[in-house]
């Protein structure tokens, strides 16, 4: 199934989406996916093809990333969430499930708190909770970066992508998405800044819907288990993915779907 792309009008300008519609009429709720910072909806391309087999699967470029227009000033997670609601409205989605990856998982949390009646289930890839000291460290690591003359800033970003990729992810796999990491460097740190300013520990206990936290062994692997005790709904849980890291949506697409589908569609037998 081929990914189709489109624009939807949002409060900050045009919002760019990738989506796959199932060939047959789908009775399952649409799944709308939010990406990590920086990157874009490109990280979900293969995932959409898989999940789009039995439901409308959508991935949105966060404002300022991919092809979505940026906010005028550094936004908060709640601004991103409002923009995502604009996308739901623009696509005519009355109800949906949400999935988020790192920063995107915070956007998903905030979106469900803003429109609890329209969101049914949430999948979060990582839910890092930071101590004050850790937060100071990551903020220093992910601030604005000067552009070098010799390209060393780009080589550094590439090395970081290679370092945090799971075994089996090839340079070609990384090359397919890496461009999105390099887009709009003057403002691409806004995503991390918003994420680090967001109070996930305060938000998670307010969510009444079931949450599935996937915890791959990536750069925030040790920070996510702290969220376990904050989950409210009886169906909420964390699912550790040891040995998996960035790239798992491409390399373990079917395996991930086998974990996510039973959570999104309780009472439906697996294929």
């Amino acid at each position: 199934m081929r990914v189709r792309k489109a624009y939807v009008q949002g409060r900050f300008g045009q919002m760019h989406v990738r989506m796959v519609r199932p060939q047959a009429a789908a009775d399952k709720r649409p799944l709308v996916c939010f990406h990590m910072s920086p990157y874009s909806s490109i990280i979900y391309e293969r995932w959409l093809e898989e999940m789009g087999r039995d439901r409308l699967a959508v991935a949105v470029d966060t404002p300022g990333f991919g092809e979505s227009d940026p906010t005028d000033t550094p936004p908060a997670i709640t601004d991103y969430a409002h923009a995502m609601i604009d996308v739901l409205d623009g696509l005519g989605l009355e109800s949906a499930d949400l999935m988020g990856y790192h920063t995107g998982s915070k956007i998903a949390l905030e979106t469900v708190l803003l429109i609890p009646d329209r969101i049914h289930r949430i999948v979060m890839v990582s839910a890092p909770l930071w101590t004050e000291q850790e937060l100071a460290e990551v903020k220093a690591l992910y601030g604005p970066e000067p552009l070098s003359d010799d390209g060393s800033h780009l080589a550094g970003w590439w090395q970081s992508a290679v370092r945090w990729s799971m075994d089996g992810r090839t340079l070609e796999d990384i090359g397919r998405v890496f461009w999105a990491r390099t887009l709009n460097p003057a403002i691409s740190w806004w995503g991390h800044a918003a994420a680090f300013a967001y109070d996930s520990a305060g938000a998670i206990p307010k969510v009444q819907q079931p949450i599935l936290i996937l915890n791959p062994e990536d750069d925030v692997w040790q920070r996510t288990p702290r969220a376990k005790d904050l989950l409210v709904h009886a169906d909420s849980r964390t699912h550790d993915l040891p040995g998996w890291s960035h790239g798992f949506l491409d390399l373990k697409t079917v395996e991930t779907a086998a974990i996510v589908r039973p959570f999104l569609d309780p009472g439906v037998d697996a294929d």
Binding site: R2, Y7, Q14, E67, L147, G151, L154, W179, T182, N184
Partner: protein, 280 residues
């Protein structure tokens, strides 16, 4: 005279290779058919260089859109446009651009190209002469057989490194050829598009180096304005002198890559004078 600039929006149309991503400025809105230009001026279509995308025209399209519809598509396989199933020829790119004209209900247009895009303009003018009125070419590269050997070698499929040195090297190449006034910050805006699809991004150059520009440009009967900034193709472009039936070369020794961003108004004035004047 015209207003400085109008907003540029983005949209998709369907073409023979899949979705084609466009930047559009002027009297058109998302999901609406193109109304006839209020000013009566023909639309202007702008084709980018390889690899890159229609983003190189973002600022310029905003300026030209003040008095006409200006459309900058991403060539199939670049930017957000779906790729052809296999390595295409320049004629295939031109055919996809006819799909864009059809989708936007543009009967006839002026066309503008940049490097590879210049060749697409020529191919389009030859394939559909009734639909192309005038051509503006940023560089009209005509290569010797010797040069082609070097270019093909230099612009082949990129090898990906584990340490990112291939990305750093590409960045240094961009900075080397950045024209006066085009800063690192400008380059960074365009650079990401040059990193897309490393598996097939060399197709654009391969098509360009297979296109016999010197032979083809002789047969174009429409007026041609060649803009020749001081970039990596300045010498190759001079060879077009004397080959064109109805064209001239404007040397721009103080401009280089990035002139569309740095000298937007001056470039728009040059292009308008040619497109809207009586003489080429």
């Amino acid at each position: 005279m015209t207003a400085a600039s109008v907003p540029v929006s983005r949209r998709y149309v369907d073409g023979r290779f899949g979705q084609i991503h466009l930047r559009v400025a002027g009297p058109v809105r998302e999901n609406e058919p193109t109304p006839p230009s209020a000013t009566g001026l023909l639309p202007l279509l702008c084709f980018h260089m390889s690899p890159n995308s229609g983003r190189i025209y973002e600022t310029f399209a905003g300026a030209m859109g003040a008095d006409r519809l200006c459309v900058a598509p991403d060539t199939p396989g670049f930017g957000e446009s779906d790729p052809p199933p296999s390595a295409p020829a320049i004629e295939d790119y031109a055919a996809a651009m006819i799909d864009v004209m059809d989708a936007l209900e543009i009967e006839r247009a002026d066309v503008m190209g940049y490097h590879t895009g210049s060749e697409t303009c020529v191919a389009l003018a030859l394939a559909a002469p009734e639909r192309v009125r005038k051509l503006v070419l940023t560089s009209a590269p005509i290569f010797t057989d010797e040069e082609l050997v070097w270019f093909r070698d230099h612009y082949g499929k990129p090898e990906l490194s584990a340490d990112g040195s291939h990305v750093a090297e590409k960045w240094r190449g961009f900075l080397t050829w950045a024209g006066p006034g085009w800063t690192k910050e400008h380059v960074a805006v365009q650079f990401a598009d040059a990193l897309r699809r490393p598996d097939i991004s060399w197709w654009g150059h391969a098509a360009a180096f297979a296109f016999p520009m010197g032979e083809k440009i002789k047969h174009v009967t429409q007026p041609i304005l060649v803009l020749n900034p001081n970039d990596d193709l300045v010498e190759h472009t001079r060879r077009a002198d004397g080959l064109m039936q109805n064209g001239r070369i404007e040397d721009l020794p103080d401009w280089g890559h990035g002139y569309l961003d740095i000298h937007t108004e001056a470039a728009a004035a040059l292009v308008r004078a040619f497109l809207d004047g009586d003489q080429p």
